[in-house]
């Protein structure tokens, strides 16, 4: 939910409760006031009737509410002694409205000439349902008016006030380290926003500079390691051309060369791994994994056929995903290379692309591998010396970078499955 809508909905809920409670209190207060004034009026009328009764005996003929608003009936003394004035609500038929309407009734007793009389006085009363209806209607009007003005205020004023925030947010959304972007903030009169802008500029500045220095460090490390490696390998290559060397000397040189080349490969792999972890592959495009798989198959055909292996590809879906092209190719080729290198001679490698999954199967010499350790660095199969033990770690890192799941499982044969999110 967006910030503006969020605050508006909050206001709406709070106002609803406040107005609701207020309406109930207001209603009862008002009702109380109305009863109070009605009862005062009835009290006054009672005095008037009693006073008139002293002068005019005609009054005692008012046995029903036919023409007036009161009735007088004689009552027994016993009843009269214990009688107290009381007010109550009742219904009475109203000619004009043609229905029963609520009225306020005062019952009282008075004494005249040693006779006791019961006096009932009525006055027409406010209709509660009409009152509630009116009240509710005006409340709804008030509520809607308030909400509308809040929405209007939010959209006009708050939007303007929050503008620096939204501008910053939009840029942060698109920000990626290593893409040489600059965050441009909008200066604001509001202290908090300025603080936020400043802090973010500072933090991003720091991240960018530490990112750059790390990148620099990796490149320097590459330089520092690669150069002595290059020199050593090249010197040996020159040395081995020397005609004076005998076969056993050449063999020693060959062995040193092999080890140096292994070192170079490992160095390259480690550099690649840290480059991936440092997000140094920012360019992304849509990769067609089906095409890529077929391309890689032909690249690896020689290696596979040397081990008399066949690579079979089955596709039932068209797998596309946005990622760095080079990394996509490294990811698949490391999995394929792993399958070929560790697969049994004369066995088949099966690649299945179905749904959102890319799965590669190969038969192996041993049973299931430890699925916890299989992706960790330098987890080496001791039978196989030339491997750096880092290929699957690289594959896992690439998969993790793009939110893909890389899962190892074993059922008669090894399988590595890449699961692509939808």
């Amino acid at each position: 939910m967006r910030l503006l809508n969020y605050t508006t909905s909050y206001f709406a809920a709070v106002l609803f409760i406040i107005l609701g409670v207020w309406a109930v209190i207001f209603y009862f207060e008002m009702l109380d006031e109305i009863y109070d004034s009605l009862d005062d009026g009835l009290e006054n009328q009672k005095m008037l009737v009693i006073n008139r009764a002293k002068a005019d005996p005609e009054v005692f003929k008012n046995l029903e509410f036919n023409d007036g608003s009161y009735t007088i009936r004689p009552i027994a003394r016993n009843n009269a002694i214990s009688f107290r004035d009381f007010y109550r609500d009742t219904l009475m038929y109203m000619q004009n409205e043609d229905e029963y309407e609520p009225v306020r009734l005062l019952e009282t007793v008075f004494k005249q000439d040693d006779e006791f009389y019961k006096l009932k006085i009525i006055t027409s009363m406010v209709e509660e349902d009409d009152l509630i209806e009116d009240l509710l209607f005006s409340l709804i009007l008030l509520y809607v008016g308030l909400i509308l003005s809040i929405v209007l205020l939010n959209n006009l004023i708050l939007k303007k006030i929050w503008n620096p925030f939204y501008v910053l947010l939009q840029q942060l959304k698109d920000f990626r380290l290593g893409k040489d972007q600059k965050i441009e903030t909008v200066p604001s009169k509001i202290e908090e926003f300025n603080l936020l802008n400043n802090r973010i500029e500072q933090m991003l500045g720091k991240s960018v500079s530490s990112y750059n220095s790390q990148k620099q460090f990796i490149e320097n490390a590459a330089h520092e390691l690669q150069t002595p490696l290059a020199i050593s390998i090249n010197k040996l290559e020159l040395l081995v051309e020397n005609e004076d060397l005998n076969p056993s000397q050449i063999e020693i040189i060959a062995s040193v060369l092999n080890n140096l080349e292994g070192l170079t490969r490992m160095n390259n792999s480690l550099l690649l791994l840290s480059k991936i972890e440092n997000q140094q592959f920012p360019d992304e495009e849509e990769i067609h994994f089906n095409d890529l798989t077929f391309d890689l198959k032909s690249d690896f055909e020689d290696l596979a056929s040397h081990k008399k292996m066949k690579i079979n590809i089955k596709t039932t879906s068209d797998l596309k995903y946005i990622m760095n092209k080079g990394l996509a190719s490294i990811l698949l080729s490391n999995l394929l290379k792993n399958a070929i290198v560790h697969g049994k001679k004369k066995s088949d490698i099966e690649i299945v692309i179905a749904g959102n999954n890319f799965t590669i199967y190969n038969t192996g010499h041993n049973g299931a591998l430890d699925s916890e350790k299989v992706f960790s660095r330098f987890q080496k199969n001791t039978d196989y010396k030339a491997s750096t033990g880092i290929g699957l770690a690289i594959a896992k890192t690439i998969a993790g970078k793009y939110g893909l799941q890389l899962i190892y499982s074993y059922d008669q044969r090894h399988s590595f499955q890449l699961h692509f999110p939808k």
């Binding site: 090249n234 010197k235 290559e237 020159l238």
Partner: protein, 225 residues
């Protein structure tokens, strides 16, 4: 053929110089931007091997200068900075090729010769070794003008050997050149052997007077009989 190597790592410089001199190139060296600039100003070279990280400047700046002055020497960037940015920047500035350290001498040789061939505008893009001739434009090898029927990999292997005639070609150099980065893990490149075997058989059956000799488990050498 005159080659200038610009490299501040003196061992590296000496290696390249020794190797290329054995190919009968005239090799001159510079170990700083300053020295390189003065040499480039006076002489013309067929190929310049340019390191990017020099002690007194950036090789890419030197390359830019070269191109601004319309100096048409071939340039191969040789860099330990195996980073895509440098590679793209270098190629965009007009370098002919990019070679990341560490590299094999045979690879350097092949790249230098490829650049030199491309720069000879007489259209004579053919390597001759005895009765073997390889037409690089048509990607066709012939023995005594009879076409040699090679698949893509075999052709690439033969060209690589031809560029390194009489030189020892390391097995991993060959694998990296022909199969690219993918093969960096494979077990001591045993599988190369079957490719070489096929190539040898085809050379022999067509009466080629060149031969691929094995060098004690380290690599191979293309020699004339």
């Amino acid at each position: 053929m005159k080659i200038l190597i610009i490299e501040d790592e003196l061992d590296m410089l000496q290696n390249m110089k020794d190797f290329l001199e054995r190919e009968n190139f005239v090799v001159e060296t510079a170990d700083s931007v300053l020295e390189a600039r003065s040499k480039i100003g006076v002489y013309t070279y067929d190929c310049i091997l340019l390191d990017i990280n020099l002690k007194d400047g950036n090789g890419l700046d030197l390359l830019e200068e070269l191109k601004q002055k319309k100096i048409e020497d071939g340039v191969i960037i040789v860099s330990a900075k195996n980073s895509l940015d440098d590679k793209l920047a270098g190629l965009n500035l007009g370098a002919d090729d990019y070679l990341a350290k560490p590299f094999h001498m045979a690879e350097l040789n092949a790249r230098v010769k490829a650049v030199l061939r491309r720069r000879q505008f007489n259209g004579n893009n053919i390597i001759h070794i005895d009765n073997l001739s390889i037409n690089l434009d048509e990607r066709q090898a012939n023995i005594d003008n009879e076409p040699l029927n090679l698949n893509r990999k075999e052709y690439e292997i033969l060209v690589f050997f031809a560029s390194n005639q009489n030189r020892m070609v390391n097995k991993s150099a060959l694998a990296e050149h022909v199969w690219g980065d993918y093969i960096d893990q494979s077990d001591s490149f045993e599988f190369i052997y079957s490719q070489i075997k096929n190539l040898r058989r085809k050379l022999k059956s067509t009466g080629a007077r060149v031969e691929i000799k094995a060098v004690y488990g380290i690599g191979y050498k293309l020699m004339t009989l």
